[in-house]
Amino acid sequence: MTIKKFMMVNRKAPYGTVYALESLEVVLIAAAFEQDVSLAFLDDGVYQLKRGHQTKGIEMKGFEKTYGALEDYDVSKLYVDQESMAARGLTADDLCVPVEVMSRAELGKLMEEQDVVLSF
């Protein structure tokens, strides 16, 4: 099968809208298709990775654990925008999984290398 470089760009916070959850579903399927998958988190998308989601009170399915399970699907390219974290008072220590923190320019360079960019 052809292997393409797929990047899922996440710029929206979790729970307020469904995009973060349904984006993860796409990531898992792309990994099952053995594609070269990476995830980028910018703007409010970095909130998706904030550790310690407790969703019982809003009766919605929490999906923090899924980020931790990505490695089992051989998805290990998680890129986070430094500037977006800083603007939200977050550091890499606040995140639920190991990520590669980079500048916007570095992220843009990676985006340029992709065959398919899906934004959620």
Partner: protein, 97 residues
Amino acid sequence: MLNIINKSPLDRGSLDTCLQSAEGGAILLIEDGVYAATKGSVGEAKLKAAGKFKVYALGPDLEARGMADRVMDGVTVVDYGGFVDLVAEHKASQSWL
């Protein structure tokens, strides 16, 4: 890369993030994104400062919003056929949703 923006720069940060992240190439403004390309708006200053991008705006969306006669200098207005050509000309497109 063809960067597609569909939101007003006064409503969302998608144009800002695109301008600060994307390496270059083209920006196509569609839907509410076309407001960025209008004279005297905050979008005009932002786009002028981002000289590395070739900027396009979708004509039908400008016309629908009564903004077709306010397009800033340096922006190329295209129709849906032009939209298709832009997608074809670039290896990939990214919608900054």
